[in-house]
């Protein structure tokens, strides 16, 4: 025993310094962590590490493929420089907030659980050895000695490992509730107590092995559950860290990268083209176009110039802007709107998890059964000791071991499967709720469409498109650059002469002896802006349109094949929404406010529908919360991603039907697992009630039901 006592007698002493050293290792100074959302193989690992190690000043780089990130001992090198190095090597990378990463990394609870599993497993294997000897006929002195050794191993191991259940059960009982941990703890405590008594009294029925295997299997279920939650939590923390954690502050002409949290009202900030605006502010220098799609659902970019106010979360498209900060942190428009969303009623809190529903039925039944057995046996033969013994064996046999594994085993398999398909499940009950979904509501801008407007090539002749492209290329004006970026790829260019910029109006040139103009409507002679004209032809307002995300049509067709009704709710204009809806052949409702979106989702709920809401904008966030289940693309705003259950990491929506099917088959497996567990109990309970339950029968029932449930869960793959 001396070899093992260092671990089993006081594992907490080993665990505490362990957790501390992990915390030290992860919060180490000078370490940079980058998120690598697209890496997936050995080639990526080598590519990323190789590229980083070639940067002078970088001392070490280690990719973690499971968490899709790289830790870099970067020394004095700025994280932004490393992101550029990786972008050149072909890997998308984002800087993560070190504090958030450290919090997500120190998974002390997970290590504690693993430690408890290890101790329970070790004790179970050894006690099982002695039990087998006893069942195969060891008697008298040998049996007695084996019982004592088993007690010596089992009691401290149980004391350490089973704490998890007892603490949770005590918490429930204190508040007058019954959860699954109450029958579990009762069974473990009573089994241990009874066995210790029997050992001391030299009796024959000792349940140490049953108590330990119970603890071991249930801890395994608990660990799977924990891992699913942790993966989801750390991923959503990383996603929130993506929300422009860094900004470029300009002080007396000098630029420096700072954390957004360090900015103060009155600072000057530079936002380059393509970046999200980090804080609320007023433009003090520059002119550009702003994409407000995420905040309002508008699909067209808005031109801004000096003096215009911008809010955090908008995207700067075309040219660098200098902003004077007017609000930071919790005061930004974005945060205030997010706080408003918090008050929307949450579907998650309305839903009761399958496991809890099972526990609500199961726990009272089991306790009543044991009580009835106890009273019945007293009435039958009047022997209180024997009646107690039988009642305890009923509790042990009916202990919901398989029930504890039924849900987490299936959910681990299902979330793992969805993760490989690029869907991140963020909430523990998300899949159960998704399985019940029978109608889908989509947002338009940024969800069904890519959220970026493009010039509709069909409305102009090929020649005109070529002229337009050349004209936009020739101009340095931000609006021209935005138009150049919004043109479809692969356009031909033509030769232009005498290119001249007219400030505040547009750009003009000569093509084949004809004057061509691109610019403000009044200058070009059209009704709206921006407009385009070729001498001799009627001027046209540039026709903007949106492109659907890849695979959207296929996704809609599959859901239609399943008979799931769909609709589009958009804050955009009726024309733009109607066009997308007609293209996909689904119902639409345009120009809806965020509150109307919630109202529509609530209305569907009241008609008995279980709605899946898919959206990305801040105007969708409240509706995402109110819907029975919700999804948002990874490009969505933090507030929307927080509100939704599942984040779609890829660029297209084809996996939505897949996710619903996986969720449904997971739900079927969970129910099958409940049936299996109940089936074992139906056989075991009569045997136990009649007083024929031996420790051997308890051990067999326990292990076989747990293993059957695990195997059934694995069929999901």
């Amino acid at each position: 025993m001396t070899e093992t006592s260092a671990f089993s007698a006081c594992p907490a002493c080993n665990a505490a310094p362990l957790a501390a050293s992990v915390a030290r290792a992860n919060s180490g100074g000078g370490e940079t962590v980058l998120s690598l959302p697209n890496i997936h193989c050995a080639g990526c690992i080598r590519g990323v590490e190789g590229a980083l190690l070639e940067v002078p000043g970088v001392k070490g780089a280690r990719v973690n493929l499971s968490r899709k990130r790289v830790s870099i001992d970067a020394g004095p090198v700025e994280p932004e420089a490393l992101v550029e190095v990786l972008a050149e090597a072909g890997y998308e990378a984002q800087v993560l907030d070190a504090a958030m990463v450290a919090a997500a990394d120190t998974d002390a609870a997970g290590r504690q659980l693993l430690l408890r599993i290890a101790v329970a497993g070790f004790a179970m294997m050894n006690v099982m050895l002695f039990s087998v000897a006893v069942w195969s006929g060891a008697s008298q002195a040998t049996q007695h000695m084996f019982h004592w050794i088993a007690a010596g191993i089992a009691v401290p191991a149980l004391f350490f490992s089973a704490q998890v259940f007892v603490t949770s059960a005590w918490g429930a009982v204190k508040h007058g509730r019954l959860n699954m941990d109450v029958p579990i703890s009762l069974a473990i405590i009573l089994a241990t107590g009874l066995s210790v008594y029997e050992t001391a009294a030299g009796g024959e029925r000792v349940y140490f092995d049953a108590a330990l295997s119970l603890t071991f299997f249930l801890l395994a279920g608990r660990y799977l559950d924990h891992r699913t939650r942790m993966a989801a939590r750390s991923a959503s923390q990383e996603l929130s860290a993506l929300e422009s954690p860094r900004a470029v502050r300009v002080t007396d002409g000098a630029r420096e990268h700072v954390n957004v949290a360090d900015l103060a009202v009155g600072d000057e900030v530079l936002v380059s083209a393509g970046m999200r605006i980090p804080v609320d502010g007023t433009v003090i220098k520059g002119a550009s176009d702003i994409d407000r799609a995420l905040l309002t659902g508008e699909s067209l970019a808005v031109a801004v110039a000096e003096g215009d106010a911008l809010s955090a979360g908008e995207e700067n498209i075309s040219a660098p802007l200098h902003l004077r900060v007017t609000a930071v942190g919790e005061d930004t428009t974005l945060r205030r709107m997010a706080a408003m969303i918090e008050t929307a009623e949450n579907a998650r809190s309305r839903y009761t998890a399958l496991a809890d529903r099972a526990a609500k039925v199961y726990a009272p039944v089991v306790h009543l059964l044991a009580l009835v057995t106890f009273i019945g046996w007293i009435a039958w033969d009047g022997n209180i000791a024997h009646a107690l013994n039988v009642a305890i064996s009923v509790l042990i046999i009916t202990c919901p071991c398989a029930l504890g594994l039924a849900v987490p085993a299936v959910m681990t398999a299902a979330t793992g499967r969805l993760f490989r398909k690029g869907l991140l499940v963020k909430d523990a009950t998300a899949l159960e709720r998704l399985a019940e979904v029978d109608s889908v509501v989509f947002d338009k801008t940024g969800t069904l469409t890519t959220g970026r407007a493009v010039v509709d090539g069909a409305a102009l002749s090929d020649d005109d498109m070529a002229v337009l492209a050349s004209l936009a290329d020739a101009s340095e004006h931000p609006v021209s650059k935005a138009i150049a970026a919004a043109l479809p790829g692969g356009l031909a260019r033509v030769e232009l002469t005498d290119v001249s910029e007219h400030p505040g109006k547009g750009v003009e040139a000569i093509w084949n002896g004809r004057r061509v103009r691109l610019g403000h409507g009044s200058w070009v002679g059209a009704e709206g802006s921006p407009a385009f004209a070729v001498d001799g032809q009627a001027p046209v307002v540039l026709p903007f349109t949106e492109t659907l995300r890849e695979g959207t049509g296929e996704m809609v067709a599959r859901l239609k094949g399943e008979g799931v009704p769909m609709s589009v709710l958009s804050g955009d204009s009726a024309a733009a929404t109607g066009r997308v809806a007609a293209l996909l052949d689904i119902d639409d409702c345009a120009e809806v406010t965020p509150a109307e979106k919630v109202a529509e989702v609530e209305r569907l709920r009241e008609t008995g529908r279980k709605v899946l809401m898919v959206g990305d904008g801040l105007n969708d966030a409240a509706a995402l919360r109110a819907a029975h289940a919700s999804m948002s693309p990874a490009s969505a705003l933090d507030a929307s991603r927080t509100a939704s259950d599942i984040v779609i990491l890829g660029q297209n929506l084809t996996e939505i039907p897949e996710a619903i099917f996986t969720a449904r088959s997971a739900r079927r497996r969970v129910l099958e697992n409940f049936a299996i567990a109940a089936g074992y109990n139906c056989i075991a309970i009569p045997i136990a009630v009649l007083g024929h339950a031996s420790p051997l029968a308890a051990a067999i029932a326990m292990s076989t039901s747990s293993i059957t449930v695990l195997l059934n869960a694995m069929r999901l793959r």
């Binding site: 093992t4 671990f7 430690l115 070790f122």
Partner: protein, 56 residues
């Protein structure tokens, strides 16, 4: 039955060894990146050797 007095401690010792081994793997962060390590074994080279190896 005297053989038990040798076999029981031996079996306990071996199981204790397994437990210790598991705790060691836990302590040295070997469960942090299961996917990455599975791929890394396929890499052709082991990278530059640590310095003390080069002296030999």
């Amino acid at each position: 039955m005297n053989v038990l007095f040798i076999l029981v401690p031996v079996s306990l010792f071996l199981a204790g060894l397994a437990l210790w081994f598991f705790l060691w793997t836990l302590k040295s962060n070997q469960y942090d990146d299961l996917d990455g390590d599975a791929w890394r074994i396929l890499a052709d080279d082991d990278g530059p050797r640590p310095e003390e190896d080069d002296r030999g």
